[in-house]
């Protein structure tokens, strides 16, 4: 949607300890895609080349999901490498945001590299705040940094009321969780 009627793009954050943050971002991506918008997702932390349900589904319909990461931090043996991957992933995000060719861009799990200080919070916040007029940016992850919250139009907190892994020791389920 590059016509002049395009509404101003929003900044949307899904945060909180409950499940559903990435899932809801995927849903928004699918909704926008259904309306003919161009969409793109960048995943932080998840393994480079991850093949979860969302990657398989996206591939089938030509939606781009780019994962760059080495798993979650407590699994990382080399913090320099982990930081470098996040910095590289951010460069791809930034380029996509500034190019203005994609209507909806999702930065999945992007709160973590900001919180951990691998990415500069001011740089991330100002890049998103200064995006092209029509571009929507969605950020997911726990504990969204106050500088990200400050530039957001919509912030939804997923509150963890009942969690099967914690409460029942049930594993993440294919198709539901990944």
């Amino acid at each position: 949607m590059t016509d002049q009627q395009a509404p101003k793009g929003l900044v949307i954050i899904h945060t909180g300890d409950g499940k559903g943050k990435t899932t809801a971002a995927l849903g928004l991506m699918v909704r926008a895609w259904g309306q003919g918008m161009s969409v793109k997702m960048f995943q932080f932390l998840k393994h480079t080349g991850a093949r979860f349900g969302e990657h398989r589904a996206a591939e089938k319909v030509g939606i781009s999901i780019e994962s760059r990461g080495d798993g979650f931090t407590w699994l990382s043996k080399d913090m320099d490498e982990t930081t470098a991957i996040a910095v590289d992933q951010w460069a791809h995000c930034k380029a996509a945001i500034e190019a203005g060719e994609t209507d909806l861009i999702i930065l999945d799990e992007a709160t973590y590299p900001v919180t951990y200080g691998w990415l500069d919070a001011d740089e991330v916040a100002s890049t998103i705040a200064n995006r092209p007029f029509h571009v929507h940016v969605v950020v997911t992850g726990r504990d969204a940094h106050e500088k990200l919250v400050a530039i957001a139009d919509v912030v939804t907190e997923m509150e963890d009321i009942k969690h099967p892994y914690r409460d029942q020791g049930i594993k993440a389920q294919p198709g539901l969780d990944f």
Partner: protein, 184 residues
């Protein structure tokens, strides 16, 4: 760098690894709260499960408020995901759609069934919370059932495996324009 973890390892989630847990279980998931985000969470699960080639189905217990098809409807159609929308805002229509859901739960043993706005149909008094909870709990199949709506009755909260509440921390003003592809 060495790839030490299987790429599809469910242990690699923000919630950490747990190797001792039962491998598979059909879950009852409740996404509720005032935030609009609950609706799109169901859509996200459908997308994921569809990507895995699992049988998926969408049922919506709220009539579409707009004359034009929503992004959700258009996307489900493009993805080839079967979707049923309530015929109208009536008890009869809710009962008819609910009977479809019950049939699905009894026949289909895996995949995902999203019952969007089911909680709102209960809140309207069209369906009984106790009946719904009974039909959706205690199943031993691998089917995941996702239930959404504004407020969840205690019967469903008790029987659910996973409950998240969507709270609006920051929202647009009531005069903000409705945006296609974001709001519907």
């Amino acid at each position: 760098m060495a790839d030490e973890f299987p790429r599809d390892d469910p242990a690699v989630t923000p919630d950490g690894p747990d190797k001792s847990a039962p491998a598979r279980k059909g879950m009852l998931v409740v996404y509720h709260g005032p935030g609009a985000t609950k609706e799109i969470a169901g859509l996200g699960v459908l997308f994921r499960a569809n990507g895995r080639g699992l049988p998926v189905r969408h049922m919506r217990f709220k009539p579409d408020p707009r004359g034009e098809p929503s992004g959700d409807n258009l996307a489900l159609e493009k993805l080839g995901i079967p979707s049923h929308v309530i015929d109208g805002p009536t008890e009869e229509a809710a009962a008819e759609l609910w009977s479809k859901a019950v049939r699905h739960v009894s026949i289909v043993q895996e995949g995902v069934l999203v019952l969007e706005g089911l909680l709102d149909a209960i809140a309207e008094g069209w369906l009984s919370a106790a009946q719904v909870a009974e039909a959706l709990s205690g199943k031993d199949s691998l089917l995941h059932v996702i239930v959404t709506g504004e407020t969840a009755p205690s019967e469903l909260l008790d029987s659910a495996d996973l409950v998240s509440k969507m709270k609006a921390i920051k929202k647009r003003g009531s005069d903000a324009p409705v945006i296609a592809g974001i709001d519907y």
